[in-house]
């Protein structure tokens, strides 16, 4: 089957879908919307008052950003972002700060616009100043070609000492539920104008919004579907990429040579296995010796960089100690699994210590 036949077959297959029809679908969608609105309204009556009182001002902190919105700006906007001095981390892992804005207390809509030079950006939105689990931020990012939106729940009490977004190396799409008190969007902006508008709901009047836009460089490589970058900040420590590899198509193992490092090196494994694999196991060999015979091959959420393009895989940190100052060879292999259904990856980082590096 060539690619033309593949397209034709997909088209034919799509024709067999059972279509309930537009009227029924439209009714169901509006029902879902009504349910969602009732949920929001039930907990968010106070937001309307907050909007009237506080749809007032924005404090923009950008050299290229343009604050915008219905609210007049009553505070002068600094003309130069100096990263940490205004509360935004100037670099996080391999990402560089492009600009940001902080709203006033009670300001329920904040817009930040800027030009982005990179193909990829990470947009981070925080809510702080009024602790609330019920608060939600709904953020719309519009770039030159497209738009995307995301919601997040929760608002923290204190302003963070430093606004630090999730690193791009920390997953390819980390928005959505479970990540209060902020949302991080990863747009596919190809450079050009970018507009970010965040709406705050069900939050105390003291709550504030903050938006930051970070430029994301091209990844160093893509390993088992995961983009890896030269630096990775996991929220606590910064790490430097030292070695990586994934299994060749049809192969049930991956082997990586790790050069001698003066710093501690830690490894992570990635896997994705489609279809049944009764008795299938992952094994790890360090310098030819079997190191682990029962790596967790179940899907879990502990690994900080789950390959977003894999539906059934996951991974984890390798519980091995690699001698500092010596090169090593690490091999990950799967037994009892069809190599054609298998994706394996190994990634190794040197620990650069606590903080943003």
């Amino acid at each position: 089957m060539n690619l033309t036949e593949l397209s034709q077959s997909l088209d034919s297959q799509a024709d067999i879908v059972d279509d309930i029809g537009v009227p029924a679908r439209l009714g169901s969608v509006h029902h879902r919307v009504r349910v969602a609105r009732r949920r929001r309204a039930a907990a968010g009556v106070a937001v309307t008052a907050a909007a009237v009182v506080a749809a007032s001002t924005a404090l923009a902190l950008s050299d290229g950003g343009r604050p915008r919105g219905d609210a007049p700006i009553t505070e002068p906007s600094p003309t130069v972002i100096s990263g940490d001095s205004h509360g935004f981390a100037s670099s996080v892992g391999s990402m560089e700060l492009l600009g940001g804005a902080v709203g006033r207390p009670g300001q329920v809509e904040l817009t930040f616009e800027t030009d982005v030079p990179t193909d990829r950006v990470r947009v981070a939105v925080w809510c702080f100043g009024g602790q609330s689990r019920r608060a939600t931020t709904e953020t719309l990012v519009a770039d030159v070609e497209n738009s995307s939106a995301e919601e997040a729940d929760g608002c923290s009490a204190q302003r963070p000492e430093v606004f630090t977004p999730h690193d791009a190396a920390n997953g390819m799409w980390t928005g959505g539920s479970g990540l209060p008190p902020y949302v991080t969007l990863n747009t596919g902006a190809g450079g050009g104008a970018l507009s970010v508008t965040s709406h705050l709901r069900r939050a105390p009047q003291s709550a504030r919004l903050a938006i930051a836009v970070y430029g994301v460089p091209q990844p160093e490589a893509t390993v088992a579907g995961l983009d890896v970058y030269p630096l990775w900040f996991d929220g606590d420590r910064t790490r430097e990429l030292v070695a990586f590899g994934d299994n060749p198509s049809g192969s049930g193992s991956v082997q990586v040579e790790i050069p001698a490092s003066a710093r501690p090196v830690e490894g992570y494994y990635l896997f994705s296995l489609e279809g049944p694999s009764p008795g299938g196991r992952l094994e790890l060999l360090v310098d030819g010796e079997l190191a682990e015979t029962a790596l967790d091959a179940r899907r879990d959420s502990d690994f900080p960089s789950q390959p977003a393009l894999q539906g059934t895989g996951s991974g984890g940190q390798l519980q091995i100690e690699l001698t500092i100052g010596s090169p090593h060879v690490v091999e990950l292999r799967a037994t009892g699994a069809d190599p054609d259904q298998l994706t394996l990856g190994l990634v190794f980082y040197a620990d650069l210590g606590e903080g943003l590096g």
Binding site: M1, L3, E5, L6, S7, S9, L10, S12, Q13, A14, D15, I16, V17, D18, D19, V22, R25, L26, V29, R32, V33, A36, R120, E138, L140, A142, E145, N146, S147, S148, A149, M172, W173, G176, T187, G188, G190, T197, Q218, P219, A221, T222, G225, L226, D227, S249, G250, S272, E274, G275, R299, P307, A308, L309, Q310, G311, T312, D340, Q341, T343
Partner: protein, 159 residues
């Protein structure tokens, strides 16, 4: 370049939801799940409708694909095995097509790139934008997916 006039939400659903459903079916391989996925995406888009710039189609498509890849039905992860089979309700037709069986064996992300690239005819860059990943990731996933399809036994007879 002619300006694109954004349709009303209901008009958009009337005109475009059928196309979205076809795509959702290729992603989910199940009519009911496809309908649920489309409605999930449309309901989410409704709340941002007033702020979407230009043609909402790519925006809704992006919501839908990302919802699919990220597993919008999280309850599935918590399903427990049972000794009693549930009553059978509506079911899709059996795998009457070779490609359908082969697509079922692809990972979600791989199925998504195949559908976006060869059903929606998106470029690698456009596919990367929809999925929120790099072009490199799309290339590697496409390559792996095509490699799997080439050797899939269900497509053996077509070679």
């Amino acid at each position: 370049v002619a300006a694109v006039t954004k349709p009303g939400f209901d008009d958009f659903v009337a005109a475009r939801s059928g196309t979205l459903l076809r795509m959702a079916y290729l992603l989910t391989q199940d009519s009911q799940l496809a309908e649920d996925l489309v409605q999930t995406a449309l309901a989410k888009a409704w709340f941002a409708w007033g702020r979407v710039v230009g043609d909402p189609g790519p925006y809704v498509r992006r919501i839908m694909v990302n919802a699919y890849v990220s597993g919008w039905r999280r309850r599935w992860n918590g399903e427990q095995p049972t000794d009693q089979l549930p009553e059978l309700g509506y079911s899709d037709p059996p795998d009457t097509t070779d490609l359908r069986a082969a697509l079922r064996r692809l990972a979600k992300g791989q199925r998504a790139v195949i559908v976006l690239r060869y059903f929606e005819d998106l470029t690698e860059a456009e596919t990367a934008q929809v999925l929120g990943c790099s072009v490199g990731a799309v290339k590697s996933q496409t390559s792996r997916a095509l490699a799997k399809l080439r050797v899939d036994p269900a497509l053996e007879a077509t070679r």
